[in-house]
């Protein structure tokens, strides 16, 4: 090595935020044609570092060289000029715009004064064919799948002539199929001479695709190793600073009576299309049922129907025999359903409330938190303190605004709140999305603990691994219907993948 100049070299980059050193003298080299993985816990400073490379932040100290030349990247424009492109963790796409509009934004081809949409669409088409990135140039972003949105992001960088691509947690939002496709795309990109920095929490992906791994902990580089010379256990240990077990260890389930019985559930969306189509499902006490499926097959609608946020047209939802369909969220919550929502910022938390206020978000009106219409702050604080400790929510204080907690800690606060309700049924939607392995381990242990206490747990996840490791039984959802049920120990990724894709070979019901 040493001979080739790295395409990007970071030298002693330091970035401070009030009260925290997000990047502490980080150095890193990206070689041409390599996939360089960046690994670290939530809040380790990965996104911050990449935002510096992309010109969104300025480092407080340190320097950057691109192709051997020192550069100052003071804006995304400058980064783009240098051939750097970034696919952000949260997509930077304008929802009401078309795919083409998003791609050309900022460097639009023109004819006279007008935008030359024809030329633009043709260019998009060409790029998408060259790299195998299937996108529909004329679709609006809010109409396309998350996977396609991500491909749009990639085309966006390619359209600007990027040679250096940064992917910030690209797989967190993808289905297994989409992840596979993305891997293929990334390989193709490096084959075409591009270089990639990849941020991910998934060790499997790192092992599969990267050439080099750099591990960051608390803003510092812990190590940088060749992927071929390491293994997942070593990586995890370096990242968290302790030993992590991957195999979710759990005793076999001892399911009891049916807790949740959903039968013939039908619901239509605003356009009148059936989103839940004669859906049947049951969850028993003491078991975790995982719902596997490609995003957009009715998972969100199912959860909404179960929690009272969506009206259903027909069918029944029974919790321990009590009919709950079309009841209010409060009624359902009191009947014994708890819910870890998919979008924690939108549904899970009031970000401008303190941690303690968020802890009682669903129980504030009950004794002892409210007495005679007045809030009882002593009780609320006591409860918050107790849960923060029990669930290891890392926050400066319970009066801190939820907004300033890290994603993982926000999630822990929600789980604490929901689990503490002691529900008969716990619905967990994407509970580990975007969390680091340490946090994931914690969350999954909580789900299993619930099960072991004899509660019913319904897990919705796009992570096949999670579904396979955590569930006791897997139900596959396709086009608003449960198309099959399998036991994790009797199935594999391939079979599940086929079922999720709508292959109708239904297997017999597993239990009974």
């Amino acid at each position: 090595m040493g001979a080739a100049t790295p395409v990007v070299e970071l030298k002693q980059i330091t970035k401070r935020f009030p009260g925290i050193v997000a990047n502490d003298a980080i150095s890193l080299q990206l070689q041409k044609g390599e996939i360089h993985a960046l690994l670290g816990e939530n809040g380790a400073g990965k996104s911050t570092l990449m935002n510096i490379v992309f010109g969104l932040y300025q480092p407080d100290e340190g320097s950057i060289e691109v192709n051997g030349k020192p550069v100052i990247i003071d804006s995304p424009n400058r980064a783009i000029d240098l051939g750097i492109g970034m696919v952000h963790q949260h997509f930077k796409l304008v929802q009401p715009f078309t795919v083409t509009e998003n791609i050309i934004l900022g460097s639009e081809p023109t004819k006279g004064l007008n935008i030359n949409y024809k030329k633009a669409a043709a260019e998009v088409q060409r790029l998408s064919e060259q790299y195998g990135l299937k996108v529909n140039p004329h679709a609006k972003i809010h109409d396309i799948s998350v996977g396609m949105q991500q491909r749009v992001e990639i085309v966006k960088t390619l359209y600007r002539g990027a040679d250096i691509l940064i992917f910030d947690e690209p797989t967190a939002v993808l289905t297994p199929q989409e992840i596979k496709e993305l891997m293929v795309i990334m390989k193709k990109l490096v084959a075409e001479g591009k270089s990639i920095i990849l941020i991910t929490h998934k060790l499997k992906e790192i092992m599969e695709i990267s050439d080099t791994v750099t591990i960051i902990r608390r803003g510092k580089v812990i190590d940088s190793v060749k992927t071929s010379e390491t293994n997942p256990n070593e990586l995890a240990e370096k990242m968290v600073g302790r030993n992590v077990t991957f195999k979710v260890d759990k005793k076999p389930a001892t399911p009891g009576a049916n807790v949740l019985e959903v039968s013939k559930l039908m619901a239509k969306n605003k356009e009148g299309i059936a989103v839940l189509n004669d859906l049947n499902l049951n969850v028993r006490a003491g078991e975790i049922v995982g719902i596997a499926g490609v995003d957009g097959n009715g998972q969100s609608e199912l959860i909404e129907a179960l929690t009272g946020l969506r009206k259903v047209d027909s069918g029944s939802i029974r919790l321990e025999g009590k009919e709950l369909s079309n009841h209010s969220p409060r009624h359902i919550s009191e009947a014994g359903i708890a819910h870890i929502p998919e979008d924690r910022h939108k549904h899970g938390l009031v970000l401008d409330f303190s941690v303690s206020e968020n802890i009682v978000l669903e129980s504030y009106y009950k004794e002892p938190y409210t007495r005679k219409g007045f809030l009882n702050f002593d009780a609320i604080k006591k409860q918050a303190k107790r849960l923060v400790e029990a669930f290891d929510v890392r926050t400066p204080s319970i009066e801190t605004k939820a907004r300033s907690l890290s994603g993982g800690n926000q999630q822990k606060a929600i789980i604490a709140r929901e689990v503490d309700k002691n529900p008969e049924l716990l619905i967990a939607a994407q509970p580990t999305r975007g969390l680091d392995v340490g946090a994931i381990e914690f969350v999954q242990k909580q789900l299993i603990a619930q099960r072991d206490q004899g509660k019913a747990v319904l897990l919705i996840s796009f992570e096949l691994d999670e579904i396979m490791n955590v569930s006791d039984r897997i139900a596959v959802i396709y086009e608003g219907q449960i198309v099959g049920e399998v036991l994790p120990e009797e199935t594999n990724d391939r079979e599940l993948g086929l079922m999720m894709a709508g292959s109708t070979q239904k297997r017999g019901t597993v239990h009974e």
Binding site: F54, L56, H88, K92, V94, N102, L105, G106, L113, I115
Partner: protein
């Protein structure tokens, strides 16, 4: 009702609508870029003021009625742009609450224009009467039945200008790179930023255009309706323009339709009084009519309105 009356109602409607059209287009520019503009009223006041004194001094300098009126419009544009910078600096550079900053504009407009009028015209509460724009007829076209009466007879140049601006705005917004970028900045500023669109710069430009257009709206009132500028020249039309913009779903054509609707419901209030039966209804009911009608239409026709996603949020690149 005969065709002639219908034509005349349309004509009156357009006179009322003109200022609203300009101002609501101004609102669209600003809000499409993500900057709430509650200051339309203030910009209109500044524009009406500038038109009044601009036309007055131009007339003093010996310019003809129409030329001096255009000078008034010009001054209105200049002043509109200048004061819009206050809104821009506060809400874009200093990330002030945009609603508050807009209300500040209204306060400053109310105070400073009258203060200046008093300083300039020896304590008088309004600017001297100016000739302003004249009505004109379009040869030949004026003779078309109904349409002639409605659109080509007794019209002001400002009305045509307003309609021209509707299409111009539509074109700029939806056909040019400038418009695409401007909208992207209002929908998802950090997306725009990451592709090199200068978010703040676009917002500045949008707010400045907004100030200019709303000021032309105010100028149109002075130069076609009142002939002078005083404290009540604009009297709440800026707020109606905001309503028109929201009503029109931030689309220039929609806002135009809404402005015409508001103009119509104002015009109708006079025509209703011509009917015998109206004498038996208390006047207040007739005066309420336009506003009641608006609410009814809102309830019946418009669902949730589609504001630009990032409307009202100052852009802070450090925040995700």
């Amino acid at each position: 009702m005969d065709l002639l009356t219908i034509g005349q109602i349309i004509n009156t409607t357009l006179v009322f609508a003109t200022a609203l059209i300009f101002a609501s287009l101004g609102g669209i520019f600003s809000e499409k870029s993500g900057v709430t503009n509650l200051g339309l009223e203030g910009f209109m006041v500044f524009g009406a003021f500038a038109a009044g004194i601009g036309a007055h001094y131009a007339q003093e300098a010996g310019m003809g009625g129409t030329t001096s009126a255009w000078m008034g419009v010009l001054l209105a544009i200049v002043l509109g742009v200048l004061v819009s910078l206050i809104h821009a600096v506060a809400s874009i550079t200093f990330k002030a609450d945009q609603i508050i900053s807009g209300i500040v504009i209204n306060f400053l407009a109310a105070g400073s224009t009258l203060y200046l009028v008093k300083l300039l015209f020896e304590g008088s509460g309004d600017s001297p009467l100016v000739q302003g724009f004249s009505k004109f007829n379009v040869p030949f076209l004026e003779n078309i039945p109904l349409l002639g009466e409605a659109f080509f007879k007794n019209v002001y140049p400002t009305t045509y200008l307003a309609i021209l601006f509707v299409f111009l705005t539509y074109y700029i917004m939806f056909k040019t790179p400038f418009g695409l970028r401007l909208r992207s900045v209002g929908e998802h500023p950090s997306a725009a930023d990451t592709v090199g669109v200068k978010v703040r710069r676009y917002r500045y430009v949008a707010v400045m255009i907004s100030g200019a257009l709303a000021a032309i709206g105010g100028a149109a009132i002075t130069l076609t309706t009142t002939g002078t500028f005083s404290h009540n020249t604009v009297s709440g039309q800026g707020y109606i323009a905001i309503a028109a913009m929201i009503f029109g779903k931030w689309n220039p054509i929609g806002a135009f339709g809404a402005a015409v609707f508001f103009g119509f419901s104002q015009a109708i209030r006079n025509y209703v009084q011509l009917f015998e039966w109206s004498q038996s209804i208390p006047q207040e009911i007739i005066f309420m009519l336009p506003y009641l009608l608006t609410i009814i239409v809102l309830v019946a026709a418009v669902g949730r309105s589609s504001a630009p996603s990032a409307l009202g949020e100052p852009y802070d690149p450090g925040k995700r």
